[in-house]
């Protein structure tokens, strides 16, 4: 018996530059592939927002006075709702990985937490890009007419991207905290609820006064106001700054917390 216990096999020496950087694209590719193949979740993520949009425009829209045609008012909000829903589902996929056998494989391969979480968050961005395009397509069919310059479109895309990154990262935190996929899906409902007490579906002035304060100072309102302003060519005021501050804050906080949680869950 030779003394070769600690000799590093050829296949492993030479490889492995920086583990986080090297494994990130692999983890992203994995999550995107899994999202594509999880047909149930994919269909729900695509169909649900469209049904909600049709529901609001055709059923409730006639009764809601917003000063413009309701489809103009509600589409930016539905886009946001759809993105929030898609992003929140990150909680479920993170939780499934954490409670399954695959996490042990990743850990014994020494996949860093950042790479694991980035895989889920970036896959969520890809998923949401696809569903957002679909929602816009249907919105155009039912009479949504945006008035936006190329720059405004780019800014809208940027704010939406930041929002999806923030919610996905927050969802990753929820996924790390939850002990079962069912519990993690509770987070999805919380996020789904947030647009209702905001200016997403109805103007805030129509709400009872005690609710107006919350509706005005919660993260969804500045994001939806920014989107609406950019897409319809109306003034946005200070909303973009509030939106960026909210989303940036959530993103930074969630990234820090999820890093700690991942280390603790896997210590």
């Amino acid at each position: 018996m030779s003394d070769t216990v600690i000799a590093i096999p050829a296949a492993r020496s030479g490889a492995r530059p920086s583990p986080a950087l090297a494994s990130m694209p692999v983890m992203i590719a994995r999550c995107v592939r899994l999202s594509r193949r999880n047909l149930d979740a994919l269909i729900t993520a695509l169909v649900l927002p469209i049904l909600l949009m049709l529901l609001f425009v055709y059923l409730f829209g006639g009764a809601i006075a917003t000063g413009t045609s309701y489809v103009q008012y509600v589409v930016p909000g539905v886009v946001l709702l759809c993105a929030g829903f898609g992003a929140a589902n990150t909680a479920v996929s993170v939780c499934q990985d954490m409670t399954g056998g695959v996490i042990d494989r990743f850990r014994s391969l020494d996949v860093p937490g950042q790479a694991f979480l980035a895989g889920h968050v970036i896959a969520s961005v890809v998923r949401n890009a696809a569903s957002t395009l679909l929602v816009f397509g249907v919105a155009l069919l039912i009479g949504f007419r945006p008035h936006a310059s190329a720059l405004a479109w780019a800014a809208a895309a940027g704010i939406l991207l930041l929002f999806v990154l923030a919610i996905s990262s927050l969802a990753a935190v929820a996924g790390l905290l939850a002990t079962s996929a069912e519990a993690a899906s509770g987070f999805v409902f919380a996020v789904m609820f947030l647009p209702y007490p905001s200016s997403t579906f109805v103007p805030i002035q129509t709400m009872p006064t005690w609710l107006q304060g919350f509706a005005r100072d919660q993260p969804v309102t500045p994001v939806v106001e920014t989107l609406r302003g950019l897409l319809l060519g109306t003034p946005v005021g200070a909303s973009p700054w509030h939106a960026v501050a909210w989303c940036g804050g959530i993103l930074a906080g969630a990234a820090a917390i999820s890093g700690v949680l991942f280390r603790r869950r896997t210590a």
Binding site: M1, S2, D3, T4, V5, I6, A7, I8, P9, A10, A11, R12, A15, R16, A22, S23, V26, M27, A29, R30, R33, L34, R37, N38, G100, G101, V102, D104, R105, F106, R107, S108, L109, D110, V111, T266, A267
Partner: protein, 335 residues
């Protein structure tokens, strides 16, 4: 130290939420050998392996694996070892090839290398035809084989297999056993856990028996069998009354096992015909109590029973299952 040790652990202790899982486990596994950690469910096998594979931190105790401290050199160690857990560490929604390719890429292989290694392993484990199918459609045996293939991607120096065949049907177990036996050729050290005595006997050159978080015995399969009497005379008696008489009479000779349910009394012998005849005469002087007798070598079942006071987790069907396994091994050697 003349032999290099691949695993060297001393006093490993671990509690999970107040429940003691390991109460001080010591382990020494020479490099290049195959060691089976044998014990019933809840004995601490999985905890032991997870600690050695750096996935769980011990509350106390030290261990070195492949020359690395399991806590301080955790990251260096992870490149030298590989673990296949009890639950499949693969994505059901990816194909076999995609899973292996992913593991290869995460281990640091370049794309081309990863593709070649994936194809090689799929071939080696008889999964080439299923390579493009999603793992969700695989049978239990195929999944374990793929899991084992994933473990071998980077030719680790120590491999941990946590209950590699639990829940598999017999043909799948035999295929997997063969694959595990073939690992030995490359000088790799294998540490596997099992609750099947037969599996430990067949696969390992060293067995560590643990029960309730402690090592209760260790040695080669042959050594362990010698710890209990080498040969035993088993008597099946004609009635409960005869059983009581014989069990009483056998007390001086040393009763190894007395089971009123099966009317079985088992006593130690050296297997010599004169001694067996003498025992039969002494225990059944009127020649009416014994219906049948047999002389057999100790099995690991006997060892386990003697060491822990109970059979491993196969409640009620322990005997029949072991017999199944034996007859099946014969079939395989015939193939």
């Amino acid at each position: 130290m003349s032999h290099a040790l691949a695993v060297e652990a001393a006093g490993l202790r671990k509690s999970h939420g107040g429940v003691l899982a390991l109460a001080g486990v010591d382990l020494r596994v020479p490099a290049g050998s195959r060691c089976a950690v044998l014990g019933p469910n809840g004995a601490g096998k999985t905890t032991t392996v997870r600690i050695l594979a750096t996935l769980t931190r011990p509350d106390a105790g030290q261990a070195r694996v492949a020359g690395c401290d399991i806590v301080r050199d955790q990251h260096r160690l992870r490149r030298l070892i590989s673990l296949t857990g009890q639950f499949t560490g693969l994505d059901a929604q990816q194909t076999g090839a995609e899973n292996l390719h992913m593991v290869a890429r995460l281990s640091g292989l370049a794309r081309g290398q990863a593709r070649r290694r994936t194809a090689e392993l799929l071939e080696q484990f008889g999964l080439a035809e299923a390579a493009r199918r999603r793992v969700g459609t695989y049978s239990g045996g195929m999944r374990r084989r793929l899991d084992l293939a994933a473990t071998l991607i980077t030719e680790p120096s120590v491999i941990f297999l946590d209950e590699p065949t639990t829940g598999l049907d017999l043909p799948s177990r035999l295929t997997l056993w063969q694959a595990i036996t073939e690992l030995g050729g490359s000088g790799v050290t294998t540490v596997l856990t099992t609750q099947y005595l037969e599996e430990a006997d067949r696969l390992a050159d060293q067995i560590v028996v643990i029960d309730a978080g402690r090592v209760v015995a260790e040695g080669t399969p042959a050594e362990l069998k010698q710890q209990v009497a080498g040969q035993r005379l088993e008597l099946i008696l004609t009635s409960r009354c005869a059983f009581d008489d014989v069990a009483r009479a056998a007390a001086w000779a040393g009763v190894l096992e007395a089971d009123p349910g099966r009317l079985l009394v088992s006593v130690a012998t050296d297997g010599n015909a004169a001694h067996v005849r003498q025992l039969l005469d002494a225990l059944d002087p009127r020649r009416v109590a014994v219906e049948r007798f047999s002389v057999r070598g100790a099995t690991l079942d006997d060892v386990f029973l003697a060491l822990t006071g109970h059979l491993p987790e196969q409640a009620g069907e322990a005997g029949s299952r072991t017999q199944h396994d034996r007859s099946d091994q014969k079939e395989v050697t015939g193939v």
